[in-house]
Amino acid sequence: MQNRRFKKGLAVFWWLTLIFLYAPLLVVMMFSFNSINTSARWGGFSLRWYERLLHNDVVIGAIGHTLLLAVISSIIAVILGAMIGYGLYRHRARKLGLLIVLIYLPIVMPDIVFGISDMAFFVQINRLTGLLSPGLGTMVIAHVTFQIPFVALIVYSRFVGLDATLFDAAKDLYASPWQRMLHFILPTLKPALLSAFFLSFTLSVDDFVISFFTAGPESATLPIYIWGAIRRGISPEINAIATLMIASVALVAVLSLLFNRRRA
C-alpha cells in the first residue's frame, strides 16, 4: 500500500523532471514561430524568422561550414578510429595500457583545456611555419581528435560481440588479408561504421567550445554564429536556427538508434 503511494509520488516527480528537461527546448521551438520580437509574450503564429534566415547569407554560410566540418571530420575519424578498434581487438591479449590511456584522453580532457591547448599549439605552429592558420582545417583536426575514441570504442565493441571463430573461418576460406577485409570484416562492420559515423557527426555538430577556440574568422559554424548572435542580443532569429538544429540532431540521433537497433 505504502509502496504504491511511494511509486505514485516518484511518478509525479518523473513527469516534473521531464518538463524541466524539455521546457527550454520547447520554448526555443515555440518562440521560433512567434510573430513578435520577444520571448516574453506570444503574438501569434508566423514563419517570418525562418523567412529571414533564408536571406541571411552568414547563416547559410555557417550551415555550410557546420555540415562540411561534420562530414569531413567524421569520415577521417571513422577511418582512423575503425583501424584502432580493429587493432585493439586483434591484439587484445597484449598489454596496451598506454594506448588505452591515449584513446581515453580526448574523452576525459575538459573541453576548454582541449580547445585552448589546440589553439595555443596551432598559433605557435603557424608562427613558426605558416601552416595551420585557424580555419576549417584546424577545426577538422580538432574534431577528428575527439571523434576517434568514440569510433574506436564502437568498432571494438562490435568485434567483441562477434564469434571469434568467424575470424578463423574467414582465414580458412579467403586466402589473402585483403579479401578477408573486403568480404568479411567490412560487411560485418558496416552497421557499426554507420552508427559510428552518425555519432561522430552528432558530436561534431554538437560541439561548441573546441570549435570556438580552433575556428578562424571565416569559418564560423552554426553554434559559433548563435553564440555571437546571443552576445549581440537575443533575437527570435536565433530561435529559428536553434529549432532547425534541434530538429536535425534529433533526426540524426534517431537514425543512429535505428542502425544500432538493427545491429542488435
Binding site: L10, A11, F13, W14, T17, F20, L21, A23, P24, L25, V27, V28, F31, S39, A40, L80, G81, M83, I84, Y86, G87, L88, R90, H91, R94, L102, I103, L105, P106, V108, M109, P110, D111, I112, V113, F114, I116, D118, A120, F121, F122, V144, T145, I148, F150, T202, D206, F208, F213, L222, P223, I226, W227, I230, I234, I238, A242, V249, A250, A253
Partner: protein, 304 residues
C-alpha cells in the same frame, strides 16, 4: 636457434607490424593534436607573460602567483573569488543533481523493462542538442518579463524587473540541467542491480521506511552515486559556456577566467595555470573513479 623459434619470432614481428599499422595513424593523430598541445600549454603555465599574451622565457611561477591574486598592483581577491565560485557552483549543482536524479533513476528502475530504455533515452536526448542552444533556452525562460521571472518577482525573491537571468542562480540551474543525465545513468545502473531481498529483510525486521532506505537501499546505490558525482562535479568545475551565457560578468568561473586570459586579458601563462588546475581536478576525478571501480565494482561503465 630452432626452426620453430624462427617461425615464431617472424610471426610475432608480423603481428607487431600489424598492430602498428592499424593503431599508429589514429594514435599519432591524438598524440600530435592533443598530447603535444596540452604538454605545450602546461609548459606555458611556467613561463613569463610577454605583455601581449605571448609566453616568454625565463621559467617562473608567476602565473600561479597571479592565479592566487598577486598582480603587479598588489594582491586582489578577484581570481580567488572565481576559484571559490567554481568550487561552490560545482558542489551546489552536484547536490541538486543528486536530489533530482536519485528519485528519477529509482523510478525508471521500477518500470517495465521495455519502458526503461525509452525513459533513459528521454533523459539523455536533450543533452544531444548543442549546449549553447540549451543555455539559450534557459535565457528565454528566465529573462525579465517571462512568467517564471514574474512569479519570482511576485514572491519577492528578486528585485523588480531584474529577471532570474543573468545571475548565479541561473548558472546553477544551467549546470543542474546540463549534468542531470550524467548522474541518472550511473545511478540507474546501480538501481538496476538492486538486491530486493535486502529491502524485504529490512522490512521484515520492522525497519521504518526511512531506516530501510538508509540501511538497504542507499548503500547498494553508493557506487553509482559516487561515479555520477565525479562525472558531474569535475566537468562542472571547468564549465565555460553556462557561466558565460547565463551568469553575466559577475558569475565567472574558472573556465571563463582561463578563456579570457587567451583572449582580451592576454595573459597566456595565467590562463595555462588555470587550465593546469582543471587538468589536476580531472586527474583527481579519474583516480577516484578507478579506485572506486576496483573497490565497489561497476557503475562506471555506462558513460556517454
Amino acid at each position: 636457434m630452432s626452426q620453430v623459434d624462427v617461425v615464431w619470432r617472424r610471426r610475432r614481428r608480423r603481428e607487431t607490424r600489424h598492430l602498428l599499422v592499424s593503431v599508429l595513424p589514429g594514435a599519432l593523430w591524438i598524440f600530435i593534436f592533443l598530447v603535444l598541445p596540452s604538454a605545450y600549454l602546461m609548459s606555458v603555465a611556467f613561463m613569463t607573460n610577454g605583455g601581449f599574451g605571448q609566453p616568454q622565457m625565463p621559467l617562473t611561477l608567476d602565473a600561479f602567483r597571479n592565479l592566487a591574486g598577486f598582480g603587479f598592483l598588489g594582491w586582489s581577491p578577484g581570481n580567488l573569488y572565481t576559484l571559490w565560485r567554481s568550487i561552490f557552483q560545482s558542489v551546489i549543482s552536484l547536490g541538486l543533481v543528486v536530489l533530482v536524479a536519485y528519485p528519477v533513476a529509482w523510478y525508471i528502475s521500477m518500470c517495465r523493462p521495455r519502458l526503461r530504455a525509452i525513459m533513459l533515452l528521454a533523459v539523455v536526448v536533450p543533452s544531444w542538442t548543442n549546449q549553447v542552444i540549451r543555455a539559450f533556452g534557459w535565457m528565454n525562460l528566465l529573462s525579465p518579463g517571462t512568467p517564471l521571472s514574474t512569479l519570482a518577482e511576485k514572491m519577492g525573491l528578486i528585485a523588480p524587473n531584474m529577471g532570474l537571468f543573468p545571475s548565479d542562480f541561473a548558472v546553477t540551474l544551467g549546470l543542474v540541467y546540463n549534468f542531470l543525465p550524467f548522474m541518472v545513468l550511473p545511478l540507474y545502473a546501480a538501481f538496476e542491480k538492486l538486491d530486493h531481498a535486502q529491502i524485504e529483510a529490512a522490512r521484515d525486521l520492522y525497519a521504518s521506511p526511512l531506516r530501510t532506505f538508509f540501511v538497504a537501499v542507499l548503500p547498494q546505490t553508493l557506487p553509482g552515486l559516487l561515479a555520477g558525482s565525479v562525472l558531474v562535479a569535475i566537468p562542472a568545475f571547468g564549465m565555460y559556456v553556462i557561466p558565460e551565457l547565463l551568469g553575466g560578468g559577475r558569475s565567472q568561473m574558472l573556465g571563463n577566467l582561463v578563456a579570457s586570459q587567451f583572449g582580451e586579458a592576454a595573459n597566456w601563462p595565467l590562463g595555462a595555470a588555470g587550465a593546469l588546475l582543471m587538468l589536476l581536478a580531472t586527474l583527481l576525478g579519474l583516480v577516484i573513479l578507478r579506485r572506486m571501480g576496483r573497490r565497489l565494482g561497476g557503475g562506471t561503465e555506462m558513460v556517454i
